[in-house]
Amino acid sequence: MPDSAQAHGQAPAAPLLAVTALDAFYGDIQALFGVSIEIARGEAVAVIGANGAGKSALLKSIAGLLRARPDAIAFEGAPIGGMPAYAVAARGIALVPEGRGLFASLSVEENLLIGGQLGRPGPWNLQRIYELFPVLAERRRLPSTSLSGGQQQMAAIGRALMANPKLLLCDEISLGLAPIVVRDIYARLPAIRGEGTSIILVEQDVVQALKAASRVYCLQEGRVALTGAAKDLTREEIAAAYFGI
């Protein structure tokens, strides 16, 4: 495996998720070129990179929304590449989609309930989600469209957690939100990790991502340009990998 994760001694021998030499396509356009990443149980990993670097394509491939070679993505040792999204969800991978993707004709609570409709057992239920995000409890009966951007993001995260995932994929959860709201949402991530859930954070907000994750992959034009422990990477290294200069 060309990946250097093991060198840092944080990913154990059998990772929760292993992406190996993944190619992904939007129609005829190739978005990922031989990308390999790994994440261990309970770990938080950040995937950073500029617009169009392939971050969302990576998450969509893992979640089953983009085609992939079966053995390119292994979850708990089983190949899941190219599986339909509903089957991937049933195995315990939940995606918080870019732009939140709340169901507009469902109330806040109905959005949460539909996240839990697979009935996977685990620590998260409506009550726990309302404890994590109290503002959602106040607005549970309202249409999801009536929430502010930050509240919508909380609802989207809550909806994903309702599935009691082993792996939570977060696509640009800071997008379009005020910095204070972003800090507020990021402050809840340790509680989520505390339940044993692994998190892959896709972010353009590098500072936020480095604070929340233990390891970082930097994508550049569909390839992994840099990887390492968040605390070891220097600004210069990241800038070089991010912008390709």
């Binding site: 089953g64 929304l65 999204a85 969800a89 989609p97 993707g101 469902l106 996240g115 409709q117 599935a163």
Partner: protein, 288 residues
């Protein structure tokens, strides 16, 4: 009293139109599929009921116990094997395929049952009437049909807004891709919606066949009434669909009372009037 009777009859017939429309409205609401074969499926349900009543020697209303599940299974299979393949960004393939289906059903029924006009016999209930007040009478059968129509609409409303299945329908209608992330298999959700739609079609077909004669060519006319009721009521609103059916029924009854030749014309005029002054329908739910 004359006009009270006319409007009452219109309302009762309107219940049947609302049932024509309910299945159509449900399918459009969940998967944006316009089912051109809807009317032919109603007529097909009437023939299924005919076979069931003749084979088992039971009455048409009792036969619903079998006809409803038979049509629901046909609906699931139809969606799973045929219609799911037509769904996508383009609205044209499902239109063409259901149009083809309409032709196939009509000709299949013609081959199997000939063009003879048939009717389901339900015995004494057909002629029984209730006197409401002096001079105002309602038939038991039309009344039952109306009550069933309201119950069907209320039942669908309950399923849509109070059950996990309805939540899945609405979520999939909102955003099919994100619904998959919740573990919902769109193909299965759509097939369940079509099964539910054809269960309603089964009830509609039996009441249609008890009320009047039917033959294989009648489907498209039922489809038109269904469409008109949906458009008058507003897309995606079930209670609106009931209102649409009633408006259509009352307009037809009034037209027929003025001049027997104006019955169908009056219904279409009421539809065109609503389309002209309120093109989104009376109670629209769908954002377009």
């Amino acid at each position: 009293m004359d006009w009270v009777n006319v409007i009452l009859q219109g309302v009762l017939v309107g219940g049947l139109y609302a049932m024509f429309a309910a299945g159509l409205s449900l399918i459009f609401g969940v998967m944006r599929l316009v089912n051109i074969a809807h009317g032919d499926l109603i007529v097909m349900a009437a023939y299924v009921a005919l076979v069931v009543t003749q084979t088992l020697g039971i009455g048409p209303l009792t036969s619903l116990i079998l006809v409803v599940p038979i049509m629901a299974v046909i609906g699931y299979a139809l969606q799973w094997f045929v219609l799911n393949r037509t769904l996508g960004d383009d609205l044209l393939p499902p239109l063409l395929v259901t149009f083809g289906l309409s032709v196939i059903i009509q000709n299949g029924l013609l081959t199997l049952f000939t063009a003879d006009s048939l009717k389901l016999q339900s015995g004494d209930i057909e002629v029984a009437t209730i006197r409401l007040v002096e001079g105002v009478y309602v038939g038991v059968l039309p009344l039952l049909q109306f009550v069933v129509a309201v119950a069907v609409i209320a039942g669908l409303q309950f399923v849509f807004y109070r059950t996990a299945l309805g939540r899945a329908f609405r979520a999939t209608a909102d955003d099919p891709a994100v619904a998959q992330l919740m573990g919902l298999d769109n193909r299965h959700v759509f097939a369940l919606a079509m099964a539910l739609s054809l269960a309603v079609v089964a009830i509609t077909g039996v009441f249609l066949a008890v009320r009047a004669n039917f033959d294989p060519s009648q489907g498209p006319a039922r489809l038109i009434y269904g469409f008109e009721a949906v458009i008058i009521g507003g897309l995606g609103s079930l209670w609106g669909t009931l209102a649409g059916g009633l408006i259509l029924g009352v307009a037809q009854a009034i037209g027929a009372h003025i001049n027997p030749g104006w019955q169908i014309l009056a219904g279409h005029i009421a539809f065109l009037f609503v389309l002209a002054v309120r093109p989104q329908g009376l109670f629209p739910k769908v954002r377009t």
